[in-house]
């Protein structure tokens, strides 16, 4: 029930925010912020009552009772579809991330959004609700439902409040995700049909569908359906082209949610569904998957280096960073997986922050073109310092979250395949190249006369507060990531057990 409430609060909150605009057009953002924080507090309160997560024995993937929370009630019994939500370590991490970044996104929209504030905040909250659903749903159809529905508010956020080229970007974003989503739907139904013919019962429940027996070839194709859907969202190398446009065109808050949260749903899907449901097929596929990941790391970095648009650069850096996640997942050992999870969290913060900076720059300069910037540190030292922090974070400075993530991924990957590791490691160099270029072009360099008389306002207390939250988060993740690792550990443990024997067989293949 708790999980239903979590989603419900956001949905209703959205309505409230929309209505509240009638009374005062400054209301919606406050309402929205209040709603998200309430949600967060509510979750924390409920958790405080729970057994310490690290105490849980590894939640057996196929036994919901061992999970942190589990809720199930019939929805469409005709097909064994039920409203089944469950929470384990990884989902918990993602849910927390979602809510925190949600609050941050709202703060980002504080002054950024000037028209139809109410509807905007509503969309924001609804997309958050959708994402929560994705992270908690364990009925495959329900999951698919959230997966698709969370896009609609996002679509509106881009299409209505986006920048100059929003129509194209929104459309591209929606079609990419929808088309791949259809493939996933077919895969889901195929899986269910197979289970139906095996057992004679209709069921969409994750727990029933785990270790469904099927022919290797079939498994391969069905798995690909999931894989494509998730990799498009991740985004993985050849399917990433929607991301730069969407991120660049979206309003700041939109970019924050996209980069911070929505991308993570793809990674989550891979960890939760794509591999465990078809261990053998997935891990036979791990070599190409890892190649895609490495390609993403390199390709993203190179393209980021070539950009002149502040947001576009960050967008491509996301492609590069999420490449590590893909690598981590398909290396499929605890080190790498932990790395992937860490990366999901850390990247969430670092990129969200960078997008906020980009947003506030656009707010002040009305451009994202870095050729028009330079020397901004002079007028906005605070913003500059903050930017510097997150830039070095994103280039993987030890002591900050991203480093832990990337190092763990590489460490795990090295066990599986040294050469791919080497390719991926070049990402550290190219990463440095584009990150520093970003800094150089925007905040350092000759002070641009153009803005000299503009009287640009530096970060105010609200912005600094928001940034501080993320900085602290990254530092803590960087020097004491253990809480996160411990939360994810039992889950990963069980997933690995679930797939041990295929892994070994596959490990040979890959080596």
């Amino acid at each position: 029930m708790i999980m239903i409430n979590l989603i419900g609060i956001l949905l209703i909150g959205g309505l409230l925010a929309m209505i509240s605009e009638r009374f005062d057009d400054k209301m919606p953002r406050k309402v929205a912020m209040a709603v998200v924080l309430t949600d967060l507090l509510y979750l924390l309160m409920c958790l405080s009552g729970m057994p310490e997560i690290t105490q849980l024995q590894a939640p057996l993937a196929n036994d919901p009772s061992t999970w942190l929370m589990h809720f199930k009630s019939d929805w469409i019994p005709a097909f064994g579809i039920s409203i089944e939500l469950a929470l384990d370590g990884i989902s918990l991490l993602m849910v927390l991330l979602t809510l925190v970044l949600g609050a941050i996104a709202i703060s980002a929209s504080w002054t950024d959004i000037v028209v139809r504030k109410g509807f905007f905040e509503a969309n924001l909250l609804w997309s958050l609700a959708g994402v929560l659903g994705v992270f908690m749903a364990l009925d495959l159809l329900l999951f698919f439902l959230f997966w698709e529905v969370m896009l609609i508010p996002m679509y509106f956020m881009i299409a209505i409040w986006g920048h100059e080229n929003r129509g194209y970007a929104a459309m591209k974003f929606f079609i990419f995700t929808q088309a791949s989503g259809l493939l996933m739907l077919i895969s889901v139904l195929a899986l269910v049909a197979i289970n139906h013919s095996n057992t004679g019962v209709w069921s969409f429940s994750y727990f029933d569908l785990l270790n469904t027996q099927m022919a290797e070839q079939t498994a391969h194709w069905i798995m690909l359906g999931f894989f494509v859907a998730f990799v498009v969202k991740l985004p993985g190398f050849p399917f990433h082209t929607w991301l730069p446009d969407a991120h660049t065109q979206a309003p700041t808050a939109g970019s924050v949610i996209l980069a911070g949260i929505l991308l993570k749903t793809g990674a989550y899907g891979l960890i939760r569904f794509a591999v465990p449901l078809f261990p053998e097929a997935a891990l036979n596929f791990s070599y190409p998957a890892m190649l895609l990941g490495a390609a993403g790391v390199v390709y993203g970095a190179v393209l980021a280096f070539g950009q002149t648009d502040f947001k576009r650069l960050i967008a491509y850096s996301s492609v590069s960073h999420m490449g590590f996640v893909l690598l981590g997942i398909y290396a499929w050992n605890e080190l790498a997986l932990q790395g992937a999870v860490m990366q999901m969290v850390a990247h969430g913060f670092s990129t969200a922050a960078l997008f906020m900076i980009a947003g506030s720059l656009q707010e002040r300069l009305h451009t994202r073109d870095m050729r028009q910037m330079s020397g901004l540190w002079q007028q906005m030292p605070r913003m500059g310092a903050v930017a510097m922090f997150f830039v070095v974070a994103s280039l993987g400075l030890p002591g900050l979250g991203n480093f832990v993530a990337e190092f763990l991924v590489l460490l795990g990957l090295f066990k599986v395949n040294a050469w791919i590791t080497v390719i991926a490691a070049t990402g550290l160099i190219t990463g440095a190249a584009y990150s520093l270029l970003l800094m150089q072009r925007s905040f350092q360099g000759e002070v641009n006369k153009k803005w000299a008389d503009h009287g640009l306002i530096d970060f105010g207390s609200r912005e600094m507060l928001t940034m501080a939250v993320m900085m602290i988060a990254l530092i803590v993740l960087g020097i004491y990531p253990q809480p996160v690792l411990d939360t994810a550990h039992p889950v990963l443990q069980s997933l690995l057990e679930l797939t041990t024997e295929p892994v070994n067989t596959v490990a040979e293949v890959v080596r």
Partner: protein, 473 residues
């Protein structure tokens, strides 16, 4: 013919009675208000009759098959016609011209549709189809001004007459091959007839398919659709898109099942080709269409392509799930389409210029209700979860997977992916910020839109009851 049979025929009788009354009324006192009133009452009564007839489900003579399934669709059709009626009130508002006949035509063609649905015999099929069709020609051409309606009407008349001719000739061949005119009779004799002379019966059923395919505007028999949709008065277009197509598809299904035609791989291949063609051509045609009525026309082509997939699946699995799927899909499609046309007719009316997508810009901001309604309708047509359209697709894909129709599924995915684009274009246009338009609001239509959208969402988000019900039919 005993009493219970009459009770089974209640809906048909009521509708016929309504028609008679309308004629009488027209001869006594010409008054649009009264006419529409009578029609409305007639529909409501017919609806009750349809419910009442459930207890007397039986084959009535050799011509009609009254069972729960057909009765369900009867009531669905009547409801749709009721919606059409309401929309028509706005469109054909009394402005000097005489409009009473319109309602008569409406009732007649509904009567035709009902007969069509319940038909279990070539003759009744022919009767229903013609009754519906002929009335429709007149309805399309009804506006006395403008060239488009007339052009639409004449095209529809000629083409559909040609289609009927094909249908008839097909029947003739089948009759020649099997010596039976009733579906069950055909089904019984088909096998041996096939052995004797496959050419005859195959060619016959192919021609029947062609004739019916035209009415369903399945590619390559689709070309009339956009012109007629655009030309016809919007409520009539809605009627055409929902009542006529729905009824014809029901008839086709019955013919296909009872006639055991799904055994013949040749026909099956033919259907596969039709389905693929429709899915692709429909979506591609709609891709950059500016006029929303034409856009809906093309999208309907694609949708009947999807629906054919289910029919094809008949060859590979028991008809239980299949008929369930058809029921659900048709219902979802009808409701969604009605919702769409309800909005279009309120916003665009009969003005061609205002039927352009660009004319819908900013609708969200000055007419939120209609805009949200149209949005949901579009999402449902695109098959986004939580809408009826999604559950419908869910059925199609499930059926498709169960009978391993991977090629068709592939095409379906492709088609839907293309489809998303043009459905979203409409939504995007509405979400553009533009100067506020007029605030005209018709209570009745608002309520109508809300009701339809609610049912779309209900079908999508809580389909269990309906699925159970459809399963019981």
């Amino acid at each position: 013919m005993n009493a219970s049979m009459f009770s089974a025929l209640a809906p048909i009788l009521i509708l016929s009675l309504t028609a008679v009354v309308l004629m009488a009324q027209a001869s006594i006192k010409r008054d649009q208000a009264i006419a529409s009133m009578i029609t409305g009452v007639g529909f409501v009564l017919a609806l009750f009759a349809a419910h009442y007839a459930r207890d007397f489900a039986q084959p009535v003579t050799i011509l009609l098959q009254v069972d729960h399934w057909s009765l369900f669709f009867t009531s669905l059709i009547i409801i749709s016609s009721f919606v059409t009626l309401i929309l028509s009130l706005e469109t054909f508002s009394p402005e000097g011209e005489r409009k009473e006949e319109y309602y008569l035509l409406l009732v007649l063609s509904v009567l035709g549709a009902v007969v069509l649905i319940q038909s279990s015999h070539m003759v009744s099929l022919l009767l229903g189809m013609e009754l519906m069709g002929v009335a429709l020609y007149a309805m399309i051409a009804f506006p006395e001004k403008g060239e488009l309606p007339l052009e639409g009407a004449i095209k529809y008349l000629v083409l559909s007459a040609c289609a009927s001719a094909m249908l008839l000739y097909g029947f003739a061949l089948i009759y020649a091959a099997t010596g039976s005119l009733s579906y069950l009779g055909i089904g019984a004799r088909a096998a041996e007839a096939y052995v004797q002379n496959p050419m005859l019966i195959m060619a016959g059923s192919a021609m029947v398919l062609a004739g019916i395919g035209f009415k369903l505007s399945v590619a390559p028999f689709h070309m009339w659709t956009p012109d007629v949709y655009e030309g016809a008065p919007t409520p009539v277009t809605g009627f055409l898109a929902t009542v006529s197509k729905g009824a014809v598809f029901v008839a086709l299904t019955r013919f296909y099942i009872d006639g055991n035609l799904h055994q013949y791989s040749g026909l099956n291949t033919a259907l596969v080709v039709l389905a693929i063609a429709s899915m692709l051509i429909g979506n591609w045609l709609a891709l950059r269409q500016e006029n929303i009525k034409r856009l809906l026309a093309y999208s309907s082509i694609a949708h009947f392509g999807y629906l054919l997939v289910v029919l094809i699946a008949l060859s590979y699995m028991d008809d239980q799930l299949v008929s369930q799927s058809i029921t659900f899909y048709l219902t979802a499609y009808l409701v969604t389409t009605l919702a769409a046309f309800a909005v279009v007719s309120t916003i665009a009316g009969e003005d061609v210029k205002r039927q352009d997508i660009s004319a819908f810009e900013g609708l969200f901001w000055y007419r939120p209700l209609e805009a949200s309604a149209l949005t949901i309708a579009m999402l449902s047509l695109a098959g986004i979860p939580l809408t009826a359209g999604f559950m419908a697709k869910f059925f199609v894909i499930t059926v498709g997977i169960q009978s391993d129709l991977w090629v068709l599924l592939g095409v379906l995915v492709l088609g839907s992916a293309v489809g998303i684009y043009y459905y979203l274009r409409v939504i995007f246009a509405m979400s553009k910020s533009s100067q506020g338009g007029e605030q005209t609001a018709n209570k009745l239509e608002k309520i109508l839109a809300v009701a339809l959208i609610v049912s779309v969402l209900l079908l999508g988000s809580w389909p269990q009851p309906f699925i159970a019900y459809a399963g019981g039919l």
